[in-house]
């Protein structure tokens, strides 16, 4: 399944032609803007800029919507009728996804598929074609290199683009799905020049590796009761901004919602482990009753528990959580300084 060596060159103009065709076919084409990945209506909206910061939110909501019905119900006097929902398998092409985002779906896939498979996730994911774009800019919050990724990583992409110059991209076909997608457009592809793209990727400035994930893993195992957590817990305000902008956070809630006396639906909504009532039992008992425990859970889940369970770090190093945190809590700083005494 590895087509890594299959590299082509495509001009920006031709790439936009492909986009035009994709939109004309009625597929959804997402591209990152300032705040979010948005569906493109007109190709003039497309900005293939490798030096932009990640959009404020990832395209997680297209595979795992923030609120989605899982079933509808209709109650009558002595009966209940259930209506199943159908996930429409609309093709979604994501153009210009950052390497820190392309990774996310493959990380979440483990969770949604161990033992029971969540078809809501799978059906949507199946119709995703991710065209990644090399990233050439980082800020003080980026740390993809510390979690095993990199701005030039094509992991998770179906097709990966590397800007060679202003008007040309090197196009790597990574997966079978990517190959299938690009095949009809073979006419636009010119033979590739690997040395050129290699030169570009090698010259990309990488964010500094600030922590070793194995060391963090060890430290977390030994420092469950560290006084550090209390310090962070005092500052954290218990919103779930960090979880909701995270490309891989996946916790959810299931609630029923009545529309009228007899009809309603059951919703699957995003939920965040930083909320006080996330683990609150009906009896009033709360295993994670204070903020420091909740923050500890967040860091542990990302850097230890998920590794134990699925062998991958639940973090892509995009830095969104820290960039947006209202009280500037920086997860990178916390894990990289973990060894320092309080």
């Amino acid at each position: 399944m590895n087509f890594k060596m299959d590299e082509k060159i495509i001009s920006k103009e031709d790439l936009l032609k492909i986009c035009q065709d994709v939109i004309a076919k009625g597929h959804t084409l997402l591209t990152p803007g300032m705040n979010e990945y948005f569906p493109v209506k007109d190709i003039s909206q497309i900005n293939l800029n490798s030096s932009a910061l990640p959009a404020k939110t990832s395209y997680k909501s297209y595979v795992f919507p923030r609120s989605e019905p899982v079933l509808y119900y209709k109650r009558s006097k002595d009966d209940v009728q259930l209506i199943d929902v159908n996930v429409d398998g609309k093709n979604i092409i994501i153009l210009g996804a950052k390497p820190c985002d392309t990774n996310s779906i493959s990380i979440m896939r483990h969770l949604f598929n161990w033992d029971y498979s969540d078809e809501f996730f799978n059906l949507r994911e199946k119709h995703f074609i991710i065209i990644g774009l090399m990233c050439s800019h980082y800020d003080e919050y980026c740390f993809c290199t510390s979690v095993g990724s990199s701005p030039v990583s094509d992991k998770g992409s179906d097709i990966f683009l590397i800007p060679l110059d202003e008007n040309n991209f090197a196009l790597r076909i990574i997966t079978e799905k990517g190959k299938e997608f690009i095949e009809p457009y073979a006419e636009y592809l010119k033979p590739g020049d690997e040395t050129r793209s290699k030169q570009v990727t090698e010259n990309v400035k990488l964010p500094e590796v600030v922590f070793d994930s194995k060391e963090v893993y060890e430290w977390l195992g030994e420092n469950f009761e560290s006084p550090k957590w209390e310090g962070i817990g005092n500052l954290c305000l218990s919103c779930a901004q960090c979880a909701f902008v995270c490309p891989v956070c996946h916790c959810f809630d299931i609630v029923d919602e009545d529309y009228s006396y007899s009809e309603g639906r059951r919703m699957k909504n995003w939920d965040g482990c930083q909320f006080g009532n996330f683990t609150l039992h009906a009896s009033g008992h709360n295993p994670r009753d204070i903020q420091s425990k909740r923050y500890r859970q967040r860091v542990n889940h990302k850097f230890r528990y998920y590794v134990d369970k699925f062998g991958e770090i639940l973090c892509t190093g995009c830095g969104r959580c820290s960039r947006g945190c209202p009280v500037s809590i920086d997860i990178k700083e916390i894990v990289s300084n973990c060894k320092e005494s309080v």
Partner: protein, 294 residues
């Protein structure tokens, strides 16, 4: 700056306060909140145009208040507050959430702050609340630092936006706000950063019965944002933290500002300005206008 650090150190050393809540520098034009309990850490304190957080939100947190109660004595809490943050503190005192004698307000002569981290301080990048600010010197304080400086001039874009919205038809406004609220992901960051959203259990967390749907679809978002705005009307002091915290850039403070304008117009009341007057919605006057009622 040195004076501030000395003062904080002194307070902590004399054990007058249990902690100093202040700002510390992260990078060139970025600060973050810090809670200092060790006098040695007082040197980390800073105050400048990049101190954006409204720290009074910490005053109502149980875990912060717990720090003040030791076995033998109850200590005060020192807080660094910009003059506009003092308004929030005043509002909290008015609403009996904080007692004036329990806190030490360290305030500053302020000449504005930037709209968000990462921007250079200039008239163009001035926070919207600073443009109309009339209190460059705090109304209440225990200690004041900093010198008086001129605030850069800027045009009041928020007011222009409100006026623009007011001139629209109801359908247009409804559509505008519905589209804005539709972006909401219900992370409740606006609630978390708001000093006046101090309820132990928010109405959205109450499930029996569930008045506000927890789902973040249009309907649930609309209800939540109306309720948030209503609960803050005539209480909001305009610190603008909700705007800054919102990851989806919903213009929350626009609505708050509009409601503050209503309070000023109909009741000549501005929230958080005086310790002597009761809060507007917590009190009543028999002579209030009956215009609304048939």
């Amino acid at each position: 700056m040195e004076e501030l650090r000395e003062y904080a150190k002194e307070l902590l050393e004399k054990k007058e306060v249990a902690a100093v809540i202040g700002y510390t520098q992260v990078s060139e034009n970025r600060t973050k909140p810090i809670i200092i309990t060790d006098p040695a850490d007082a040197s980390k304190l800073v105050f400048n145009e990049y101190c954006l957080n409204n720290l009074s939100v910490y005053l109502t947190k149980a875990r912060i208040n717990a720090m003040c109660r030791t076995k033998d004595k109850i200590m005060k809490l020192a807080i660094c507050a910009k003059p506009c943050d003092v308004h929030s503190i005043v509002a909290l005192i008015q609403e009996n959430q904080v007692h004036r004698n329990d806190i030490v307000i360290i305030s500053f002569n302020c000449h504005g702050a930037v709209k968000d981290f990462g921007y250079e301080f200039s008239g163009e990048n001035l926070a919207s609340k600073c443009i109309t600010c009339e209190t460059h010197k705090p109304l209440y304080f225990d200690k004041i630092f900093g010198e008086e400086k001129e605030t850069p001039k800027a045009s009041d874009a928020a007011l222009a936006r409100i006026e623009e919205l007011e001139s629209m038809t109801h359908e247009e406004r409804f559509e505008y706000f519905n589209n804005e609220f539709d972006k909401c992901i219900k992370c409740y960051a606006c609630r978390a950063v708001c000093p006046l959203c101090y309820c132990q259990r928010c109405i959205t967390d109450k499930a029996i019965p569930r008045w506000i749907e927890s789902s973040s679809h249009q309907r649930g978002n609309f209800s939540w944002n109306i309720v948030r705005a209503f609960h803050l009307s005539a209480r909001c002091t305009g610190c603008g933290e909700c705007d800054r915290a919102c990851p989806m850039d919903i213009p929350l403070s626009l609505i708050n500002r509009r409601m503050a304008m209503e309070a000023k117009k109909s009741f000549s009341y501005v929230s958080g300005r005086s310790l002597e007057t009761p809060t507007l919605v917590g009190s009543f006057n028999e002579k209030d206008s009956d215009e609304l009622f048939m």
